[in-house]
């Protein structure tokens, strides 16, 4: 059974017209899916629908079979900006999802510190976000989304503002963290190489519709060598062609 099911989901705004047009998509448990498309094609809106931050105008989004009616505890969300609270320490920021529910226990603190270790920030727990680099802030934001070990992680172009090297490091961090608990992931990006490197399956979005789907049959764990393999480049090219609307083989059938 698929973990996330999007059925005929649509969204629009008054005077703005249709943003999403009857989207169908499903993500299997433990799968990593990427959603690519140009700016303004509606991919962030779709992600917010899945998160429960926006209600769909038509259709329905289900997580583990249950209709999404608002932000849920089983979902972690990483925003475009790190969105850390500047007046709290790194550790307090990491524990925010916990401390909004109950007083953090020593066990929570240990888990947060372990996560900090995993993203290479051990020893920075007492710092404030303003003292960290952009990449470090993004790592804290990623760790914060995972501190409650949600089975589903949604990410909205979280690494778009980082330099290429830092971005690659964070991609590897993300894959490693998600592999730990077999987290199901939906990752929004406009970066073709990023989508191919991270995902098992890539959906291409265009003008509020899903136009193509591309499986990425690269073995895991993926490392630096993968990024420079001919196979990887061929997949990137295929995805690029799909975004240009030229790859017929993977075009999605539309019922309408």
């Amino acid at each position: 059974m698929s973990f996330v099911t999007i059925e005929q989901a649509g969204y629009g705004v008054p005077r703005g017209g249709t943003i999403l047009d009857r989207i169908d998509w499903s993500i299997g448990e433990g799968e990593f899916h990427a959603l690519v498309g140009r700016s303004g094609c509606g991919k962030t809106t779709l992600l917010k629908l899945v998160a429960g931050l926006l209600p769909p105008a038509t259709g329905i989004v289900r997580i583990q079979g249950e209709p999404v009616r608002g932000p849920g505890a089983q979902v972690g969300f990483v925003f475009q900006a790190p969105t850390l609270l500047e007046w709290r320490t790194v550790l307090d920021n990491l524990l925010l999802p916990v401390s909004l529910k109950r007083r953090p226990q020593p066990a929570d603190r240990r888990k947060a510190e372990e996560l900090l270790d995993l993203v290479g920030l051990s020893g920075l727990a007492g710092r404030y976000p303003g003292e960290l680099s952009g990449g470090q802030q993004s790592r804290v934001a990623l760790a914060r989304a995972l501190v409650t070990e949600p089975p589903l992680l949604l990410l909205d172009e979280p690494f778009a503002a980082l330099d290429a090297i830092t971005r690659e490091e964070l991609q590897d961090d993300l894959l490693r963290l998600c592999a730990r608990h077999r987290t199901t992931v939906l990752f929004v990006t406009h970066d073709i190489a990023e989508a191919v490197y991270l995902a098992d399956r890539v959906a291409v979005m265009e003008g509020g519709r899903l136009s193509h789907a591309l499986p990425v049959p690269l073995a895991r764990p993926r490392g630096r060598d993968v990024r420079y393999s001919p196979r990887f480049n061929a997949l990137c090219l295929e995805l690029r062609r799909a975004m240009d609307g030229k790859a017929e083989s993977v075009a999605l059938e539309r019922a309408s």
């Binding site: 931050l53 932000p71 505890a73 969300f77 969105t83 609270l85 500047e86 007046w87 404030y128 976000p129």
Partner: protein
């Protein structure tokens, strides 16, 4: 450092010039008193204990007015920021009441509360109320939309969002309002005493005026200025302490 020295030297030179000119030209002490006479009066007033009760009264009025005005202003600001209906309902009145010269209400407060401390405290509180109200409202509404969305995603309650997101992130703006309120509080207390005070620095100015004692009036100006500088620095210090590290990034 050199600039500071030069600035202090300028002050001394001005005072010396003033003293020399007044002595040479024989300016009446009634019009412009000699700096040396002002300092002597100030010293006698402080050492002889004449000024101290007045200083105390003004300080207490200012502190009480500031505390009351800021507390009510902050709470009203929170309420109006949190409840849009109330904000839309009250906003025209708030704008209107902003432009009413609060000091002009002084005579009315004397009718209501009598001569003495109460009416001065009320005027001071009223003056402090508005900067806190305005800045609290602005500060709470200026929260980064991404952070609001984060708190929604984490299913924070409204109270949690207020206490753990909106107030901390609006704190710099709120404290800027406090700094304005502190300065206004002194003006409120002194001018309030002009109108309805029996005691206090403002009332003493009026008393000195009645006796044509310009020297005492100048001495009182100095005391008021020093008091204002102390409370302003205290407010600025509180602000620095509260915003010590996190907000700088």
């Amino acid at each position: 450092m050199i600039i500071r020295l030069a600035s202090a030297l300028l002050f001394v030179l001005l005072l010396a010039g003033w003293e020399v000119y007044c002595r040479a030209a024989g300016v009446s002490a009634l019009v412009v008193p000699l700096p040396s006479a002002v300092l002597r009066t100030l010293w006698d007033g402080l050492a002889g204990g004449y000024l101290l009760p007045h200083l105390w009264v003004t300080t207490v009025e200012m502190a009480m007015g500031l505390a009351a005005g800021c507390t009510v202003g902050f709470l009203a600001g929170v309420l109006l920021a949190e409840v849009p209906v109330l904000r839309r309902l009250f906003y025209p009145y708030i704008v209107a009441s902003q432009v009413v010269p609060k000091l002009a209400l002084g005579p009315l407060f004397i009718v209501w509360f009598g001569f003495g401390m109460t009416s001065t405290v009320v005027i001071t509180a009223l003056i402090c109320f508005f900067p806190l109200l305005e800045n609290t409202m602005t500060g709470l509404q200026q929260v980064d939309p991404n952070k609001r969305e984060l708190f929604r995603m984490l299913r924070a309650t409204r109270l949690q969002t207020l206490l753990r997101l909106k107030i901390p992130s609006g704190l710099p703006v709120i404290l800027a309002g406090l700094r304005v309120a502190v300065v206004l509080a002194l003006v409120g207390a002194v001018v309030g005493e002009f109108i309805g005070g029996r005691q206090g620095l403002g009332a003493s100015i009026i008393a000195a005026q009645g006796m044509m004692d310009s020297t005492m009036m100048f001495a009182l100006f100095i005391v008021i200025t020093l008091l204002g500088m102390i409370v302003y620095q205290a407010a600025a210090g509180l602000e620095r302490w509260l915003l010590r590290r996190p907000w700088k990034g």
